[in-house]
Symmetry: C2
Subunit: 130 residues, 2 copies
DNA sequence: ACATACTTTCTACGCATGTAGTAACTAATC
DNA sequence: GATTAGTTACTACATGCGTAGAAAGTATGT
């Protein structure tokens, strides 16, 4: 039963990345960890965290005094998977044109491309061949 | 002088795809060409086309009676490039993790992967090697 | 000329998102 | 206990997008 990860916005993603990287954090920690050009207001991040709670992407892991500590509920993998699905759907669901564009625009180097072959090998080893 | 293509939404993209595929079209043609599950109302597409005009992505090429014929101004390549840039920026601008994910999630087959090698060869031939 | 059908223009509405202010609460300090 | 600083809870607002209705214009068949 596919649950369907929630759709996360750009800023929501950035907050999630912090939680995935650093583990459980309070709002202050998140702000400090964000490498955001224009540092958003404390309450802005609070709003985002709150929306992430509504989306079940994070939950309150504990509280220290009056400070809540938040923890990611949604996995990084699931979130990234969702992002990629959304994106591919813009191209009709096929990853081929995306690859093509990445290569033609020089955004994927030949080295990176070649390295990826290893991933196929790993997968094959794990029995997920073909 | 980077012009910066406008950011196009999903539906805007779909409309653009029609214009790129079929060439200049009037609103009716666009609707007929859209393979949209839930066919949107005529005026919905008109609104989208209008927004595309504001974004300079399309322009009125001619009029036949009281019907306007619209033509893409923005190229498919530029639009796709923009999309990909936007998307990659969510992953810190690097295409490697995206490739990895595509492969691990089975969305890029080994055949497709292998085929992509040809693109590098083409590019190399054209002198844009490395 | 009139009715019918389609087009254009204008306006609107709900939801998502980035942004943040204000009020209320809590902890710590004098 | 009163002041102060940080946190939480609630509210707000502009913009973008998908959606579409209403009004007004135009072409066309009879």
């Amino acid at each position: 039963m596919r649950k369907g990860s929630p759709k996360l916005s750009r800023l929501e993603l950035q907050v999630m990345e912090v939680l995935w990287d650093k583990g459980p954090c309070c709002v202050r920690d998140i702000i400090d960890a964000l490498n955001h050009k224009r540092r958003p207001a404390y309450t802005t991040i609070q709003t985002i965290v709150h929306r992430l709670e509504l989306k079940k992407a994070v939950h309150r892991a504990s509280r220290v005094g009056n400070v809540f500590v938040f923890e990611a509920t949604l996995s990084r993998n699931a979130a990234h998977r969702k992002l990629i699905d959304e994106f591919l759907s813009l191209f009709g669901g096929s990853s081929q044109p995306v690859m093509t564009h990445l290569i033609e625009s020089g955004q994927l180097t030949y080295e990176e491309y070649k390295d990826a072959e290893k991933i196929f090998q790993e997968l094959a080893k794990k029995g997920r061949a073909k």
